[in-house]
Amino acid sequence: MAKDNNILEQIVDRYDGEVGMLIPMMQDLQAEHGYLPPDHLRSLAKLLELPLSRLYAVATFYSSFRLAPRGAHDVSLCMGTVCFLKGSSAISEAISREFRVEPGGTTRDRLFSFQAVNCVGACALAPVMVVDGKYYDGVTPDSALEILHKLSPDEENAETTTKGGTV
């Protein structure tokens, strides 16, 4: 915890303790942990002399902040207009069905966190899926599942239990 406090202080110093830089501070905190641990948010509020509610408001308003730990991998499916026109909702449904994870959630085995994001600005590649920062273009429901299954060989078991389920 002492080490954690140290990191927090560094983050606050990075922005000269300026309250206006709350969002970058929280982004840096999230970069450290992959999410915003509640006790860290509390300490940050104290350091900045802000009510915790203010930090919580920011954390829940902006979609990039998370209050729960993430999966080992980050999967973002683009839901921009072009991806939508080219069938991204079917891909989203396929992923949800196959891995039993809703957009915004993390698979139970914490293999990956799945988000349906607004346009990633790579419309010429639509439909686009971004896995750990790597862009996959022209994704189909089948190819998306194939990519995600390759994330971990352990997933083979999960596949047999969920494939062929009802729509």
């Binding site: 969002i23 902006y62 207009t81 072009v82 607004n118 346009c119 600005g121 419309c123 273009d137 062929g164």
Partner: protein, 621 residues
Amino acid sequence: MISISTRFTSGSDIENFAKKLSSKDRQTAKAVRVCIGTGCAAKGSRRLYELFCEAAEQSSQDVRVEAKCVGCHGFCERGPIVVVEPGQIFYQRVEEPDVAEIFRETVVGGRTVERLLYEDPVTGNKAKKAEEIDFYKVQERIVLGNNGLIDPTTITDYIAEGGYKALAKVLSSMTPEEVISEVETAGLRGRGGGGFPTARKWRSCREAKGSTKYVICNGDEGDPGAFMDRSIMEGNPHSVIEGMLIGAYAIGSEQGYIYVRNEYPLAVEHLKMAISQARDCGLLGKNILGSSFSFDIRINRGGGAFVCGESTALMASLEGRTGEPRAKYVHTVESGLREKPTNLNNVETWANIPAIINRGGKSFADIGTEKSKGTKVFSLVGKVVNTGLVEVPMGITLRRIIDQIGGGVRDGKSFKAVQTGGPSGGCIPAEHLDARVDFDELTKLGSMMGSGGMIVMDEDTCMVKVAKYFTNFLKEESCGKCTPCREGLAQMLYVLDRITDGEGQVGDVERLEGLAELLEGTALCALGKTAANPIISTIRYFRDEYDAHIKEKRCPAKECRGLFRYEIDSEACKACGICMKNCPVDAITGDKKVPHVIDQEKCTLCGTCWEKCPFAAVLKV
């Protein structure tokens, strides 16, 4: 990254440095430019760059070859794109095994690799240079001109192409008022959507009371289907910085902010590099180029909220608060960020400024229509053959953009509508394709210029579903501060859901229109006021589709599940059994050599058979 030890202390320093660079450039006769914009990078262009670097290192000493990463060319459809100098030979869809051949044949041998050239799908002619391709022919690239030419990670490339010349000119020979006049003469209007005259905004901010003033670059490009600003920030970040410097000088500001979307990591990276290089060279900081003008820029990453593209919400976000807009009876140019006079412009607006100073406002104003000057960058996407970024003079017709640059609708389908302006815009049908693209014309048609998304839709697109998509998007992104937007959108979505589910009631269209009117008249911010545009414009032009859903329980585009059926064409069916195997509810029967049949009672309309059939024998009826 090339580090540069030069510190510029006067305008002529820049000129001399540029001269030195250009003579040095002439020595490097051969260059390979690899696009590393997001589109090409996704298709592996960074690896191509590495391979070209290796090849260049291994080549014999007497040939000097430079491999270079460049920003987006715009023709993302054909990525990865590699351009070889001399000759500007334009290779498209380059793959790793092609590198050796390009290097051996073109770079060393000076011969063209025919199979990697772009081939016109109609005439079959091969294009050697970009300018020979229809996609580029009609374009006029002012803002994107240096994209694809310069390495965005080094300031020297930008300076070699005339970068920071405009700043030098402004600081050495123009008063702030003269700068504003020049922009006024150019007739530049805000490229972020509103189309507000830039010079008027600057002047109001300059004249506002207070000594501390801010300038902001809005890079929170939230419209789905739009990526112009992304490509400018990634491909030519210094043009944005130079524009901001000139604006700050004109307005009297010492601190600027660039607010970039969280989803654009490469843009953040390139901007950060650009800012730090500009600081090192003395182009940001105290007493720039030996003048009394001081200015610096900070980057803020957005948190992932569409509403933050609205100026007051963006400023709230910069203050570390939730991004909720406020009513604008006091303009932000008088009281914006931290209640100080603040001038906010969009990325593309800023990137136009150096060009205006260099060319002169008059010459800039020669391009475009009476009230919309210059060019506009559009992201031409959707069901069109050539997707990508295009920069065209204002006043060009939609038809030329879609047919000539975009190559028409893909897969031989027929055109239905083009959506412009993002979620605040609308859908324009075929009968208005000859409309001229400028701020006022598009508004007249019930859409808007917006930030420049241009999404082509074909006959298979259900317009009610499109309206539902945007309404859902806006409902999710509504900040919730004002009731009309928060509740109105939810209610409209409820009605649209009902219509696309086949449960629409007579009077639903009128209900939507009533809610839309309410929203337009009473919502707090511009996003709320325009949120009903997708619904209004689709009702205006595609009322028959709404009626078909409501009265006949039929989706004419056959997209809305439940409002059409799947059938197997017995003549096209080869009885391969693939659909039967894949049907999740065993609704398909058939035998070897016997055409298969779908049991409509059992069918859940999931569409799996339609997707899997290799002979397109499954039909939507």
